[in-house]
Protein backbone atom coordinates (compact mmCIF):
# COMPACT_ATOMS: atom_id res chain seq x y z
CA UNK A 1 0.00 0.00 0.00
CA UNK A 2 1.80 3.05 -1.19
CA UNK A 3 -0.09 5.40 1.11
CA UNK A 4 2.29 4.21 3.84
CA UNK A 5 5.18 5.06 1.54
CA UNK A 6 4.20 8.73 1.71
CA UNK A 7 5.48 8.80 5.28
CA UNK A 8 8.94 7.58 4.19
CA UNK A 9 9.14 9.84 1.15
CA UNK A 10 7.87 13.01 2.81
CA UNK A 11 9.88 12.17 5.93
CA UNK A 12 13.11 12.05 3.94
CA UNK A 13 12.20 15.43 2.45
CA UNK A 14 11.58 16.89 5.92
CA UNK A 15 15.03 15.66 6.92
CA UNK A 16 16.68 17.19 3.84
CA UNK A 17 14.89 20.53 4.30
CA UNK A 18 15.94 20.57 7.96
CA UNK A 19 19.58 20.20 6.92
CA UNK A 20 19.05 23.04 4.43
CA UNK A 21 17.60 25.24 7.20
CA UNK A 22 20.57 24.32 9.41
CA UNK A 23 23.13 25.38 6.81
CA UNK A 24 21.18 28.61 6.29
CA UNK A 25 21.24 29.27 10.02
CA UNK A 26 24.96 28.53 10.09
CA UNK A 27 25.58 30.88 7.16
CA UNK A 28 23.53 33.72 8.67
CA UNK A 29 25.25 33.29 12.04
CA UNK A 30 28.64 33.58 10.36
CA UNK A 31 27.71 36.37 7.95
CA UNK A 32 29.87 38.85 9.88
CA UNK A 33 32.73 36.47 10.69
CA UNK A 34 36.15 37.84 9.77
CA UNK A 35 39.63 36.40 9.48
CA UNK A 36 43.09 37.72 8.68
CA UNK A 37 43.74 34.82 6.32
CA UNK A 38 41.55 34.45 3.16
CA UNK A 39 42.00 30.65 3.34
CA UNK A 40 40.54 30.41 6.82
CA UNK A 41 37.55 32.71 6.54
CA UNK A 42 34.05 31.18 6.75
CA UNK A 43 32.54 30.28 3.38
CA UNK A 44 28.80 29.93 2.72
CA UNK A 45 27.67 26.29 2.74
CA UNK A 46 24.87 24.82 0.65
CA UNK A 47 23.49 21.27 0.73
CA UNK A 48 23.16 19.35 -2.56
CA UNK A 49 19.98 17.27 -2.88
CA UNK A 50 19.75 13.96 -4.70
CA UNK A 51 16.82 11.67 -5.52
CA UNK A 52 16.94 8.43 -3.55
CA UNK A 53 15.38 5.61 -5.59
CA UNK A 54 13.52 2.91 -3.70
CA UNK A 55 14.69 -0.44 -5.11
CA UNK A 56 12.56 -2.45 -2.71
CA UNK A 57 9.33 -1.28 -4.29
CA UNK A 58 10.66 -1.61 -7.81
CA UNK A 59 8.48 -2.92 -10.63
CA UNK A 60 9.49 -5.27 -13.46
CA UNK A 61 11.56 -2.53 -15.09
CA UNK A 62 13.60 -2.20 -11.92
CA UNK A 63 12.35 1.33 -11.55
CA UNK A 64 10.86 2.28 -8.20
CA UNK A 65 7.69 4.32 -8.34
CA UNK A 66 8.51 6.12 -5.14
CA UNK A 67 11.72 7.73 -4.07
CA UNK A 68 12.75 10.03 -1.33
CA UNK A 69 15.36 12.72 -1.30
CA UNK A 70 18.66 12.85 0.52
CA UNK A 71 21.50 15.27 1.03
CA UNK A 72 24.40 14.17 -1.17
CA UNK A 73 26.82 16.54 0.51
CA UNK A 74 27.56 20.09 1.55
CA UNK A 75 29.45 22.37 -0.84
CA UNK A 76 31.22 25.58 0.09
CA UNK A 77 30.73 28.70 -1.98
CA UNK A 78 33.79 29.59 -4.07
CA UNK A 79 32.98 33.32 -4.20
CA UNK A 80 36.00 35.40 -3.16
CA UNK A 81 35.87 36.78 0.40
CA UNK A 82 35.55 40.54 0.68
CA UNK A 83 38.48 42.57 2.00
CA UNK A 84 37.81 45.34 4.47
CA UNK A 85 40.28 47.89 5.87
CA UNK A 86 40.11 47.58 9.66
CA UNK A 87 43.53 48.24 11.16
CA UNK A 88 42.03 48.23 14.69
CA UNK A 89 40.87 44.64 14.45
CA UNK A 90 43.01 42.07 16.30
CA UNK A 91 42.59 39.77 13.29
CA UNK A 92 43.86 42.30 10.74
CA UNK A 93 46.90 41.35 8.64
CA UNK A 94 50.03 43.48 8.29
CA UNK A 95 48.40 45.78 5.75
CA UNK A 96 45.45 46.34 8.13
CA UNK A 97 42.92 44.30 6.16
CA UNK A 98 40.47 41.65 7.40
CA UNK A 99 38.63 39.16 5.15
CA UNK A 100 34.85 38.95 5.47
CA UNK A 101 32.92 35.71 4.95
CA UNK A 102 31.33 35.44 1.49
CA UNK A 103 27.81 34.88 2.85
CA UNK A 104 25.12 36.82 0.99
CA UNK A 105 22.37 37.45 3.59
CA UNK A 106 19.71 38.15 0.92
CA UNK A 107 20.39 34.82 -0.79
CA UNK A 108 20.24 33.09 2.57
CA UNK A 109 16.91 34.69 3.48
CA UNK A 110 15.27 33.66 0.18
CA UNK A 111 16.75 30.17 0.61
CA UNK A 112 15.25 30.01 4.09
CA UNK A 113 11.79 31.00 2.83
CA UNK A 114 12.01 28.35 0.08
CA UNK A 115 13.04 25.65 2.57
CA UNK A 116 10.23 26.73 4.89
CA UNK A 117 7.63 26.41 2.08
CA UNK A 118 8.94 22.98 1.03
CA UNK A 119 8.88 21.78 4.62
CA UNK A 120 5.27 22.93 5.07
CA UNK A 121 4.22 21.24 1.81
CA UNK A 122 5.67 17.91 2.92
CA UNK A 123 4.02 18.15 6.34
CA UNK A 124 0.78 18.75 4.44
CA UNK A 125 1.38 15.62 2.34
CA UNK A 126 1.93 13.55 5.49
CA UNK A 127 -1.25 14.90 7.10
CA UNK A 128 -3.28 14.17 3.96
CA UNK A 129 -1.95 10.59 3.72
CA UNK A 130 -2.74 10.09 7.40
CA UNK A 131 -6.31 11.37 6.95
CA UNK A 132 -6.86 9.09 3.94
CA UNK A 133 -5.49 6.07 5.81
CA UNK A 134 -7.66 6.75 8.85
CA UNK A 135 -10.74 7.11 6.64
CA UNK A 136 -9.85 3.87 4.84
CA UNK A 137 -9.46 2.05 8.14
CA UNK A 138 -12.91 3.29 9.15
CA UNK A 139 -14.41 1.94 5.89
CA UNK A 140 -17.88 0.42 6.35
CA UNK A 141 -18.45 1.66 9.86
Amino acid sequence: MSLFNVFNVAGSALNAETIRLNTTASNLANAESVSGDPGKVYRARQPVFQTMMDRAGANTDGEGSTAGVRVLGIVESQAPPQMRYEPGSPLANKQGYVYMSNVNPIEEMTNMISANRSFATNVDAINTARDLLLKTIAMGR
Binding site: R20, F49, S65, S114, R117, A125
Partner: protein
Amino acid sequence: MFNNIFGIHEKALLLYGDRVGVLANNLANADTPGFKARDIDFRAVLAQTDSGAALPLAVTEPGHIVLNAGGPSSAALKYRNPYQASLDGNTVEMPVEQAAFAENNVRYQASLGFINDDIADLRLAIMGQ
Protein backbone atom coordinates in the same frame (compact mmCIF):
# COMPACT_ATOMS: atom_id res chain seq x y z
CA MET B 1 -22.95 -12.10 -6.86
CA PHE B 2 -20.45 -10.64 -4.44
CA ASN B 3 -17.50 -10.73 -6.82
CA ASN B 4 -17.81 -7.17 -7.92
CA ILE B 5 -19.85 -5.36 -5.31
CA PHE B 6 -17.88 -2.15 -5.36
CA GLY B 7 -17.52 -1.94 -9.12
CA ILE B 8 -14.68 0.17 -10.37
CA HIS B 9 -14.18 1.95 -7.06
CA GLU B 10 -12.21 -0.89 -5.53
CA LYS B 11 -9.56 -0.69 -8.29
CA ALA B 12 -9.79 3.10 -8.42
CA LEU B 13 -9.09 3.35 -4.69
CA LEU B 14 -5.87 1.33 -5.07
CA LEU B 15 -4.83 3.46 -8.02
CA TYR B 16 -5.55 6.75 -6.20
CA GLY B 17 -3.54 5.38 -3.30
CA ASP B 18 -0.59 4.75 -5.62
CA ARG B 19 -0.99 8.19 -7.10
CA VAL B 20 -0.72 9.82 -3.66
CA GLY B 21 2.70 8.17 -3.37
CA VAL B 22 3.85 9.36 -6.79
CA LEU B 23 2.69 12.93 -6.18
CA ALA B 24 4.20 13.02 -2.68
CA ASN B 25 7.43 11.91 -4.31
CA ASN B 26 7.26 14.90 -6.67
CA LEU B 27 6.65 17.24 -3.73
CA ALA B 28 9.56 15.72 -1.78
CA ASN B 29 11.92 16.27 -4.71
CA ALA B 30 10.79 19.83 -5.46
CA ASP B 31 14.30 21.15 -4.71
CA THR B 32 16.36 18.29 -6.20
CA PRO B 33 18.35 19.33 -9.28
CA GLY B 34 17.57 17.26 -12.38
CA PHE B 35 14.53 15.51 -10.90
CA LYS B 36 11.73 14.85 -13.42
CA ALA B 37 8.19 15.02 -12.05
CA ARG B 38 6.02 11.96 -12.79
CA ASP B 39 2.36 11.13 -12.69
CA ILE B 40 0.16 8.11 -13.37
CA ASP B 41 -1.63 7.96 -16.73
CA PHE B 42 -4.90 7.33 -14.97
CA ARG B 43 -7.15 6.85 -17.97
CA ALA B 44 -4.86 4.22 -19.53
CA VAL B 45 -4.44 2.19 -16.34
CA LEU B 46 -8.11 2.26 -15.45
CA ALA B 47 -9.13 1.33 -19.01
CA GLN B 48 -6.76 -1.62 -18.81
CA THR B 49 -8.29 -2.58 -15.46
CA ASP B 50 -11.82 -2.21 -16.75
CA SER B 51 -11.19 -4.59 -19.65
CA GLY B 52 -10.36 -7.35 -17.20
CA ALA B 53 -6.59 -7.14 -17.17
CA ALA B 54 -4.89 -7.19 -13.78
CA LEU B 55 -4.08 -3.83 -12.26
CA PRO B 56 -0.49 -4.50 -11.14
CA LEU B 57 2.72 -5.29 -12.95
CA ALA B 58 3.25 -6.88 -16.33
CA VAL B 59 5.19 -10.16 -16.27
CA THR B 60 7.05 -10.57 -19.56
CA GLU B 61 9.59 -13.27 -18.66
CA PRO B 62 9.03 -16.60 -16.88
CA GLY B 63 11.57 -15.65 -14.20
CA HIS B 64 9.76 -12.47 -13.24
CA ILE B 65 8.30 -12.26 -9.79
CA VAL B 66 4.76 -10.95 -9.60
CA LEU B 67 4.74 -8.00 -7.25
CA ASN B 68 1.29 -6.86 -6.33
CA ALA B 69 2.38 -4.28 -3.81
CA GLY B 70 5.10 -2.78 -5.98
CA GLY B 71 3.16 0.24 -7.08
CA PRO B 72 2.23 1.27 -10.59
CA SER B 73 4.23 -0.08 -13.52
CA SER B 74 6.57 2.30 -15.25
CA ALA B 75 4.42 2.05 -18.38
CA ALA B 76 1.68 3.82 -16.43
CA LEU B 77 4.14 6.32 -14.96
CA LYS B 78 4.59 9.23 -17.35
CA TYR B 79 6.86 12.21 -17.06
CA ARG B 80 5.11 15.51 -16.66
CA ASN B 81 5.50 18.25 -19.27
CA PRO B 82 6.51 21.37 -17.36
CA TYR B 83 4.95 24.71 -18.27
CA GLN B 84 8.35 26.28 -17.83
CA ALA B 85 11.41 24.17 -17.15
CA SER B 86 13.82 25.47 -14.55
CA LEU B 87 17.56 25.87 -15.20
CA ASP B 88 18.64 23.03 -12.91
CA GLY B 89 16.60 20.48 -14.92
CA ASN B 90 13.94 20.02 -12.23
CA THR B 91 10.43 19.80 -13.68
CA VAL B 92 8.47 19.93 -10.41
CA GLU B 93 6.13 22.89 -10.42
CA MET B 94 4.82 23.31 -6.91
CA PRO B 95 1.32 24.74 -7.68
CA VAL B 96 0.70 22.06 -10.33
CA GLU B 97 1.72 19.26 -7.97
CA GLN B 98 -0.25 20.68 -5.06
CA ALA B 99 -3.36 21.01 -7.24
CA ALA B 100 -2.96 17.42 -8.47
CA PHE B 101 -2.42 16.24 -4.90
CA ALA B 102 -5.58 18.00 -3.67
CA GLU B 103 -7.60 16.70 -6.63
CA ASN B 104 -6.39 13.15 -6.03
CA ASN B 105 -7.28 13.51 -2.35
CA VAL B 106 -10.88 14.46 -3.23
CA ARG B 107 -11.19 11.63 -5.76
CA TYR B 108 -9.86 9.10 -3.26
CA GLN B 109 -12.43 10.22 -0.70
CA ALA B 110 -15.19 10.12 -3.33
CA SER B 111 -14.35 6.49 -4.21
CA LEU B 112 -14.19 5.68 -0.52
CA GLY B 113 -17.60 7.31 -0.07
CA PHE B 114 -19.13 5.20 -2.85
CA ILE B 115 -17.70 2.04 -1.27
CA ASN B 116 -19.09 3.06 2.12
CA ASP B 117 -22.51 3.65 0.54
CA ASP B 118 -22.39 0.18 -1.03
CA ILE B 119 -21.54 -1.34 2.34
CA ALA B 120 -24.44 0.57 3.93
CA ASP B 121 -26.78 -0.74 1.20
CA LEU B 122 -25.63 -4.32 1.78
CA ARG B 123 -26.04 -3.94 5.51
CA LEU B 124 -29.57 -2.62 4.97
CA ALA B 125 -30.38 -5.64 2.79
CA ILE B 126 -28.94 -8.06 5.33
CA MET B 127 -30.58 -6.55 8.39
CA GLY B 128 -33.83 -5.69 6.66
CA GLN B 129 -34.44 -2.53 8.64
